[in-house]
Symmetry: C2
Subunit: 207 residues, 2 copies
DNA sequence: CGCATTTTCAAACATATGTTTGGAACGATT
DNA sequence: AATCGTTCCAAACATATGTTTGAAAATGCG
């Protein structure tokens, strides 16, 4: 009962990376098994079929991402709205630019958006919607005065859009601005910019 | 010499729609030919291979999008920076939410970002980079004072990100906010929000 | 019309890919 | 050591897909 779990684990690892880079459909079971050092039949034996493996990968990566960058963000209850916004933005950027599972998670979601599978709805409910809800609290807190649902929502879109841009347009960014780095210091600068930019935007939208 | 062009045209139409929804790899020649009412061999006869058809589609869709929403935006030379920003944002949103070729173009780019093909670099140089350059002029004009390259760039990212969010996360948006409409009036409201939000952000970043 | 070129078509081909299968190897338990 | 359930594996299978082919149909032209 050890090699069993080890093989499953290796498959999850290999599949996570390959699904993240190629998407569900373009990823091949053969490539996954080869990288995992497993037989071609291993996927069907351990996960039923390719789709079962994919769902398991999504589950595994979601949990890994939420564990490495927990929604609480390690903030004190006394943190100001601005601090919480910065923490939210920073954690999102860190997840996007991380190497390994957390970034797989972002890439998997990106692929789902471009070419949805049956897993999309559940993934949104489990990961995407809670993050939005959390951001909504922050924005309401930062608003100059009680804001309408529509205005708050537009601010959410503006903030999320600024962060996810680096997920969804990275090839273009790197092609046009090859000198732009994304080391931790760069990300911190970026997070601060997005936070300040959004703070001004929120105040403008709720003044 | 008539049916010839007609078949090529039908193939381009059908392929545009299918490549846009499924991406290059997941789209099948058979489905494209069926929708175009052409024989399976038509793609290879007229475009060499599937990739040739894909390149032709990209070219066709780029031209169609730039023709329907030209970079000049129909603005007077006397337009203020704010008007030009609004026009830029609006045209981008219109292209994203359009039905037909202009939206195919956006979707094709989105697929390229998620799973790049050999066409990506040329596509960026031809379409993406010029738009960025144009936006850069607007931002520099709106800055409170001469801004560094880095600050301007971050503002570009912020604005583009807000717009492209609706391209790259639409499934999530529609799932979480099913009541959110995207009729012309909604898009106008959205464009105004993004413009005002960004205006405040730019001023904050360049103060 | 007669002929050459172009275009269309049904079928076949070659390859890739998810899945199944029957048996072998393995590990735990008695 | 013997047995039983689990896991692994090489091979085969079924299907999907891009491409090719050779002939038929259509088209242009004198």
């Amino acid at each position: 009962m050890r090699t069993n779990l080890e093989t499953q684990q290796r498959l999850l690892e290999a599949a996570g990376e390959i699904f993240a880079t190629r998407g569900f459909r373009a990823a091949t079971v053969r490539e996954i098994c080869q990288r995992a050092g497993a037989n071609i039949a291993a996927v069907n034996y351990h996960f039923g079929d390719k789709e079962g493996l994919y769902f398991a990968v999504l589950k595994s990566c979601s949990e890994a991402a939420l564990k490495k960058y927990p929604p609480t963000l390690g903030l004190k209850p006394t943190a100001t709205g601005e601090e919480r916004l910065l923490a939210f933005v920073r954690s999102l950027l860190l997840r996007i630019f991380d190497e390994g599972r957390p970034s797989w998670h972002s890439k998997l979601i990106a692929h789902e958006m471009a070419e949805p599978t049956k897993a999309l709805a559940a993934l949104i409910d489990k990961v995407y919607a809670p993050a939005l809800k959390q951001l909504e609290m922050i924005v309401r807190d930062l608003a100059s005065r009680p804001a309408s649902v529509a205005v708050v929502r537009q601010c959410l879109f503006s903030i999320l859009g600024q962060c996810l841009y680096f997920q969804n347009s990275r090839p273009a960014i790197q092609h046009i601005h090859p000198e732009q780095g994304f080391a931790p210091a760069d990300l911190e600068r970026l997070a601060k910019h997005i936070t300040q930019f959004s703070l001004a935007g929120i105040r403008q939208a709720t003044k």
